[in-house]
Each structure stands twice: as C-alpha cells, then as structure tokens.
Symmetry: C2
Subunit: 399 residues, 2 copies
Amino acid sequence: MSAKRNDFNHRPTIYDVAERAGTSYATVSRYLNGRSGVAASTAKRIEQAIKDVDYTPSAAARSLAQQRTHLIALIIHARSEDIITDPNIMQIIASANARVTREGWQMVTLMSENDGESRANIERLVSGGFADGYLLYTMEEDDPLLPLFERRSMHAVISGTGYHQQPPFVSVDVDNAAAMSELIRYVLTGETHSTGGDADDADTTDTTAGDATAALRRTRPAYICGPLNMPGAPERLAAFRAVTGELLPDSADSLPVHYAADWNTTSAAAAVRAWAEDGTLTTRDAIICANDTLAVGAIEELHRLGYDVPGDVAVSGFDNSSAATSITPQLTTVDQHMERRGWVMAGLVIDQIRDADKNGDRNGDRNASADDAGNTDDAGAAPSKTVMLATDLVIRESA
Amino acid sequence: MSAKRNDFNHRPTIYDVAERAGTSYATVSRYLNGRSGVAASTAKRIEQAIKDVDYTPSAAARSLAQQRTHLIALIIHARSEDIITDPNIMQIIASANARVTREGWQMVTLMSENDGESRANIERLVSGGFADGYLLYTMEEDDPLLPLFERRSMHAVISGTGYHQQPPFVSVDVDNAAAMSELIRYVLTGETHSTGGDADDADTTDTTAGDATAALRRTRPAYICGPLNMPGAPERLAAFRAVTGELLPDSADSLPVHYAADWNTTSAAAAVRAWAEDGTLTTRDAIICANDTLAVGAIEELHRLGYDVPGDVAVSGFDNSSAATSITPQLTTVDQHMERRGWVMAGLVIDQIRDADKNGDRNGDRNASADDAGNTDDAGAAPSKTVMLATDLVIRESA
DNA sequence: ATGAAAGCGCTAACAG
DNA sequence: CTGTTAGCGCTTTCAT
C-alpha cells in the first residue's frame, strides 16, 4: 500500500495516487478504468489524489498489461518527393484522423521514404505490436508490410496500388478506369450523363457512353501518363486505350502517349514541347493528363508556346486538387474525394477491431461489416473485401 | 527456462526464443540489445531461434522496462482546414522525419484539430510518456502542451507563433519581420542587397535598406494580412507598418490593410474587389500579401477585373510554395525554407535527449548544443534558446 | 467495496 | 559467459 517507488524526481505512478488516497492501487486502477465497485467516497478521494500528484497513467505499462495500445497507425510509404508533392496525402491523413478520433482512438502517422532503414524500423514497430490497427497507403506493388500483417493476423486496411487483388486484405480505392473513361468521353464527345460541374455534388458517376458515332469535339487525344507504379496510373492509362479504341478505332494505335517518370509539372511540359514541335497543335487536339499537376505543367507550357486553352487545345486533369482551380483556365478533372478515403479506411479498421473484440478474437477476422463510400454511418452492410469510392466528373474550363 | 506462456495463438515472446535456443531469456535479451557477453555459438542458436519462431520484441514491454520509447513525436496543432491547406506542414513532417530516422529514432506524427477531445487525447498520451521527445508545431498562442512539457521536464522543441518569448523552451522560427521588410523594400524601391532571384541560393538575407529618399517604384502599398493568431502573421504585418512608416512617412497611416480571416484565396479576392471598387488601381499600387495563397487569390481577382500583374499592379507573396511558380506571373516572394525547419527541430530534440542521457538526467537539461540553421552537422555551437532560420528573397515576375 | 497477488514481456543488476 | 532475480507501471482475477 505504501508507495513502492518514491525515488527522487520520478513521474507519479498509480502507487503514489493510491498512497495519497489511502487505498490500494487496485482500487485506483478500477476507478481509472471506470470499473464498477468503487465507493463514491473513495472515488472522490482518488480523484483528488490524482490531481494532487498530477498523475497520468503510463502509456507503455497500460499497453503491456491490457495488450492494447488504443492507437491506430496510418503508414505512408512513398518517396519523399512524392510525399511533399502529393496533395492527396494530407487529405487522407486529416480525414483518417478525424474518424479515428471520433471513434475514440488515437491516430499516429508513420512516414517512410523508400530507404531501407526507415522501412525496417517501421516493420519492427508494427511487428512489435505498436498499434491496434493499421492503415496503409502505399505506392508499392509488393509492400513488405503486407506479409507481416498477414502472418500476425493484424487488423489492417490498405489503399494504393491495386490491392483489391490481394485476397486477405480489406482495401479502399476508387474506380480509376471508370472515372477516367467518363472524363475522356466527355472531353472527346462533350457528353456526360452525370451532373458534373460542381465538385460539391455527391452523385455517383455514371459511365454510360454517348453514341460512339457522334461527331467528336476532339479527334486527336494525347495522353500524359504518370509513373506506372503509382496508384491508379496503369488503370487510367488503360482507360485511355479503351475509350480511344472505341471512339477512334482507326487512329487509336498511333495516338501520342508520354510516359512521365514523375508527377512534376516539368515532365508534362517536356511532353508538350515535343508534341508542339512535331507539328502544330490544333483544335483537334486534347491532352489528357493522368493528374492535375501534369495538367498544370501542360497548360503552362502551352501558354508559353502561345497556345490558348481550351481555345486551341483542350487539357484535362485528374484529382481535383487545389491546383485545379488556381490555374487559368480552371481544370476539367475528376474528383476522387480523397477526403473520404481516410475516413472510410479508418472506419473499416475500427470495425475489424470491434468485431474481433466481440468475438473474443485477439487476432482479426477481417470479414467485418463495411460501410459504403458515401455512407458515413456504419449500417451493417454486407461483408466486403474492397470498397470502391465514388468519383465525380468536374467540368470546368480547360476541356 | 521453459516457456512460461505457450497459450495458444499468441505472438511469440522472448521466452519462446529462449526455449528454442536452449538458453535463458536473459541471454536472449543480451543478444537483442547487443550487449557483450554472449558466446558466438549461443548467438548463432538464438539468431536461428528468432527466425524460427518469427520473433519481434514487444514495443510496449521494451518501453516499460527501459523507460524509453525510441519515438520522437511531431505534434501538429491547427484547424483541419489549415492542415490541408498549409503547404508547409508536409515539408516539416518530411524533413523532421528524415532527420529523426537518420539519427536512429522513429518519428510519429500526431495531428489535432482544435476540438477538445482530440486535444485531451494527445495530452494524455504525452503525459503518459508516449515518446522520448516532442516537436510541436502549433498555431496557438498558449498551447496547453507547453505547461505540460514544462511540468514534466520533457524534451521538446517548439515552432509556430512567437514562442521565442517563452523562456524555458527551445524554439525554431524564421525572422518574419526581417524577411518581410526586405521583401517590401524590394517591391517599393526595386533595391536589394541579397542575391535574390533564385530560390536555390542559400545566402543569408541582408536587410540593409536602400536610400529611403530614392524615388519609389510603387507609392501606394496595400497589405493583405493573414489570421493574426497564425505563425508569423503579426510580425509580417508589423514589418509592413515599419517599412511603410519609414519609406512613406506621410501616407503610411492611411494605407489600406485587409485583415483576412483565413489564408484562402477567396479572402484575398474579396479584399482586391473592395479596393478596385474604391478607385482604380494604378501602377502606383502594390499589394503585399501575407502569404502565397493570398497572393494567388489577389492575382486571380485582378485578372478577373482586367488588371495586368505586374504591369498595372504589383503583388507579392510569402512562403515560396509550389503555388508561387504555378501561377502566371510567377510570384515574387520569400522562401522560408520549411524543408529545413523540421530537420533542425528534430536535430535539437535529439541533442537534448542525448545530452540528458550523457549527464544521467532522465529529465532534460535544455541547454544542449544547437546546430545553426544552414549547418547540417552538429558542430558544438553555443547554447541557444531559439534558433532563427535564414530566409531568402525570391524575385520573380509579380513584383 | 476493496486488498492481495499474479502476470503482461522485457531489461538490468547480481551472482556464479 | 550465463542463469537468477527483481523490477518497469498497470490490469485483472480471486478472495475477503
């Protein structure tokens, strides 16, 4: 009952509180955890004692004893250039954080550049049971954390590159192919079946195509592709191939495609410069970019070369980032609502954790109920391995 | 020596390793911590055993036993809109992360919107000894974490709003006043003593003023101020007052100043609209903005109203964010090198921690040696309570 | 309602 | 070089 450790200058422990309150530390623990069976009078004394000694439970000791950290870790794997550049990452962090907080957990974000050391550290941490659940946003095809999550049956939700193919994991993504298809169709035909135009719309995209034989507004689309190992890049390129194959069967194979090594504006500028030299760009031309940053680079270069957008050539983006509205003309693009991404991911891990608790599993059964994209409340929906988020076509000025 | 706990499906512990290697768990612990006194043969067996059982030490147990988490926590306190908008935050995160990793620690980022719940959580965590050291980037004048750090004598480095005034804390900041002064001087007089123009220059700013009586290029500067509770905002405004007071003693008091409630482009646009209605803007006008985002908003609105920048009116920013080069004309602005901020902050906490270790203090003596801004190596400089980072005037097209 | 005691998984003297 | 023994601070039966 006496304070076992009263060394010198140490942070107060539960023993100190117990001693001051004149009870055993077990009772203090009960009080702290809201357990029943603490007399009102005792509770008062404990409460006061806690204030007196300025006590806060040790996170480490608590985690060790109850085998729970009350932490959800968001892990971001990308090259540092991309981390700084990618306007989506911050949105994921913020929205995941909001959800995790709302559900009563604490979120922490771990970032890793691609260098081995940082990676190994994070793997050790995860493997060491650092958090109760993990959100992984990765740019890598075969992220080494995946096998780890699996071996340890950890609660994890993935988002990034095509993880909907990896059976054991719950993942969140957007339908890049469908979204890009709708966008390109609009750029070429001017037709759309969704009520685009305002990013605030929450309508689900509708990929019904217009009549393929209708007169096209633009007959020479070019594509600036992002790094193919990045989330969505291959799917978006495939959509370009597919739509142009359908709408322009004769020329589809010879359409210009530039494979950018990064998402920087300069890469797009280089592509545009090359094309503009090849021959003059005309009103037949449309430059479809794999994301907004590239589109900005393309437009800037076009301006430099004396072209008008969209007067001369049309340009489209993808992401609806802040750059989309900063530039003149404002970008026609796709909003993939990254601000929902983290929110949904967080909801999914927490469901996993709660379900596992309910079933007495310490190790996760991933077939937890999943709330759908637009739905912020977790109505008990059908089990699902991959959640597809809705996108919106945003029609502005550039195309 | 036998595995005390071999329950059922539990993650392997040090006991499992010891059992398989045929030694005591103490020896395994020694091996794990690189302590001397483990026979080579034993080491081999342990190594193998670790692989066999797929063992990783428990983060919680380790922290509890050695009173060290090997974690540095970067805590960001801001409204969620600002978190998403502020282009600086990501740079701080990335650069702090790089430094922390390089020094052998693991960094985790905690984000808190201004709502009470999230805050309280973080305070509990910190108070519970969640990390070995803390980096705080806060937008608040009186962040509640500060007293906490102090009571517990924790290792912490602050950055944000004017914390150089709070004696016990080590803080990192830029000299907003000096930087803004130099910028405004340049906008008005066209003179500068630093070799501006290229953001890559690492020259220290030089605030020597030109002859105050020289003919001014612009005689009617206006100022768009950011939220005054945000980092640097008051200092920048003060610089505007000071420089205009000196250069334009007669009109200084009647110069237009707009107090924006946020950093959004729309706020700046509103200000510009009002001024343009008041009377026609002329080549005498210069609009000094508290940051790049506001400058972008101002320029966009000026364009909308048919003005040319800088042909008609000059506009300047602050931050040298990516928006500075995306817009046409590209912004004349100040680079505060946010990518150094996190790096330096991280270096400072780690120094604190190492020094405390060396002196056998568990609680920090903050008079650790601090490396200066441009200097990436920690040459034993003089003790310092606040580190001022160098800034660069970046002269482009807008002013 | 409350106290005693046994862990949680690991580190760190202290013996041998 | 290695095993034994105490903790680290808290949770959680099990008695009382």
